[in-house]
């Protein structure tokens, strides 16, 4: 299997799906300029720059999705979604239901997240929980090159609005990635990224990389962590999470997003409801603090959940 980066995986997924279905198009601020190869291959109609106007970019995608196209829109950085909430939440998320099922909205919203490059809180804000909380949407947030490709392909093929969050600090992370149909990864399926018996670590996106590191550090201390990569945050693969906690009896959830009403809260609530009797210890969350993302490198590194914190948290449950 070819070994490629996350960035390349995203690029491949777009190309393959645009080849696969002529109704797929992509637009956004600078999409055509920064990806001239897409323009060359698929033409200026299907690869479009837009004015700087997030609300109408999203609205256009929603209207187009309901009437026969399958748009992918690049919203650049997640905080810019603040301008596009009406189209995504009030239209794409609700108008199927409100119309009694008359319309469907096959569209993908791409947005970058991820602290670590010092641009501050208006470019760096993990907002995935907003969309998990809102009805009618799906939310994807991969951690590996194979999942970036496979889930983006599935998102484009899905008949519902999918938010696809891309932690850009993973861009150069590389891995083995399939081509074509073999690359597809289904939405809504978590994966046991590493089996273990002592504690369940649930995470996604960049958090997975802290967990991988932590799992290795723990293994050196003879603690075997089971590592679950959610991959899709909505619909959530409850069973994979519950099965693991039922086995290990301990749960730590790790993510970069803020703690309150986050995905970690949801996972904790799920387990406290449905796997309570298996729990041997309190459920712990390792997240960024509830503050805007600082710019200064010194502060930004302290903001990010890091492997040593995960290790210490796990140890506190076992000691």
């Amino acid at each position: 299997m070819p070994h490629i980066t996350v960035e390349q995986a995203i690029g491949q997924a777009l190309i393959e799906e645009m080849q696969h279905d002529p109704r797929v198009l992509i637009f956004g601020e600078g999409v055509a300029t920064t990806q001239p190869h897409l323009v060359q291959q698929f033409g200026a109609e299907r690869v479009r720059n837009t004015p700087l106007a997030e609300a109408i970019i999203a609205g256009t995608a929603v209207g187009a999705a309901a009437t026969g196209l399958r748009p992918v829109i690049d919203m650049l950085f997640a905080p810019f979604l603040a301008y596009a909430m009406d189209a995504i939440v009030n239209s794409a998320g609700k108008l199927r239901y409100m119309s009694g099922g008359q319309f469907a909205f096959p569209l993908v919203v791409l947005a970058k997240t991820g602290a670590g490059w010092g641009v501050g809180a208006q470019h760096t804000h993990n907002l995935e929980a907003w969309f998990v909380h809102s009805p009618g949407l799906k939310v994807v947030m991969p951690s590996t090159a194979a999942d970036f490709k496979g889930l983006l392909k599935s998102a484009i093929r899905d008949d519902n609005p999918v938010l696809f969050f891309n932690d850009m600090t993973l861009g150069h992370h590389a891995g083995e990635v399939e081509e074509g149909e073999a690359a597809l990864v289904p939405l809504g399926k978590a994966v046991v990224a590493r089996p273990g018996r002592d504690v369940t670590l649930v995470s996604y996106a960049k958090g997975m990389h802290a967990c991988w590191q932590a799992a290795e550090m723990l293994a050196a201390q003879h603690i075997e962590a089971e590592l679950i990569d959610l991959r899709t945050l909505k619909p959530l693969d409850e069973e994979t999470v519950l099965a693991s906690v039922r086995k290990t009896g301990r749960l730590v959830v790790v993510h970069e997003a803020g703690p309150l009403c986050g995905v970690g809260s949801e996972i904790a609530a799920l387990v406290a409801e449905k796997a309570f009797s298996a729990l041997k210890t309190p459920i712990r969350r390792v997240t960024s603090p509830d503050v805007p993302t600082p710019s200064s490198h010194a502060l930004e590194q302290a903001f990010l959940p890091q492997a040593p914190t995960v290790v210490a948290t796990v140890r506190s449950l076992l000691d």
Partner: protein, 320 residues
């Protein structure tokens, strides 16, 4: 089976306006009598609705908003299924999940209705983009209010439609009110159509209470869009005769403003036209009114007889 209406004769338009008026009056009376959902009445704006909608062809598509009865009826929607939707019945156009504010009827090309003010402006560009890229015939008509024209999405929508050459007839129904705020508190000019120029979009303003005039302007606009593929802004200058929503008692409305506009009532004007130009008798005109009321009575009966949705419908139609 829904049938799209395209009848453009004064009589045909008049019948649609009468049906709309009878519908609005019936719903207002039911609300006043208690225990009936509130609605946003388009009374007074029937000419604007029918004049534009009947300028469209069957391939064209419409986006509308919370004040949609005139658009729906002009296009051929069944008032029975509309009232059923208002009442939350299973036979409503949206199975009772929409209620009055966001009725869509895909079969009639009435797409994606949103009650978020400006929602239709946000979605229309995408609907038009599909038409263009999928090479489907027809244009997109997007109805919105003078209030919606204050939202940022108005600016973004018109600009994108212009830059991307999207076949959209933007119809601003300038009815002088934006819920409880008078238009003049929200903008310095009286008219919206001049704004089109800064986007390079052609525009005109028409007397929105004269169905024949609206039809004529709309036909010209539609023709221009079909020829050029470019958007056009049509402002229908009109008036919301009733309050914003059923319980609005219009206490804050200047009585002389209201009185003035009542003299311009679109239905009275069309009756004058039919009498003076087409030779209709007073009796014939009265019979037309009665016929409309009877259709609405029957529609109400249909809605009343219809069942409520099964509770299991609560969780259906969320995902495709």
């Amino acid at each position: 089976m829904e049938t799209i209406l395209t009848e453009r004769s004064p009589l045909g338009m008049h019948e649609s306006m009468l049906l709309t008026r009878a519908y609005e009056e019936k719903l207002a009376a039911l609300f006043a009598a208690g225990n009936f959902p509130m609605t946003c009445s388009s009374q007074g704006q029937e000419a604007s609705a029918v004049g534009v909608v009947r300028a469209l062809g069957p391939d064209d598509q419409i986006l509308t908003n919370h004040r949609s009865a005139g658009h729906l009826i002009a296009r051929g929607a069944d008032p029975g299924r509309m009232i059923a939707e208002v009442m939350g019945k299973a036979t409503g156009y949206c199975g009772g999940k929409s209620g009055t504010l966001h009725i869509s009827v895909k079969e009639l090309g009435v797409m994606l209705t949103s009650t978020i003010v400006g929602g239709e402006l946000s979605l229309a560009t995408g609907v038009a983009l599909s038409k263009k890229m999928l090479k489907q015939p027809g244009i997109v008509a997007c109805f919105f209010g003078d209030g919606a024209a204050c939202e940022g999405i108005f600016h973004e929508s018109l600009n994108l439609a212009s830059v991307w050459n999207l076949p959209i007839l933007y119809v601003c129904e300038n009815n002088q009110w934006q819920a409880f705020v008078h238009r003049r508190e929200t903008m310095v000019a009286d008219h919206l159509s001049p704004r089109a120029a800064s986007y390079g979009i052609a525009s005109t303003t028409v007397d929105g209470n004269d169905a024949n005039a609206v039809l004529k302007s709309a036909l010209a606009a539609v023709e221009q869009i079909r020829q050029t593929g470019q958007p056009y802004l049509l402002e229908t200058y009109t008036y919301r005769q009733k309050g914003h929503i059923s319980f609005d008692d219009q206490a804050h409305v200047d009585p002389s403003e209201l009185a003035h506009w009542l003299t311009l009532d679109p239905i009275t004007r069309m009756e004058r036209h039919l009498r003076e130009i087409a030779g209709f008798t007073t009796g014939e005109l009265a019979a037309l009114r009665t016929k409309a009321q009877e259709r609405i009575d029957a529609a109400l009966e249909f809605a009343r007889q219809s069942p409520y949705p099964d509770p299991s419908a609560l969780t259906t139609d969320v995902y495709a």
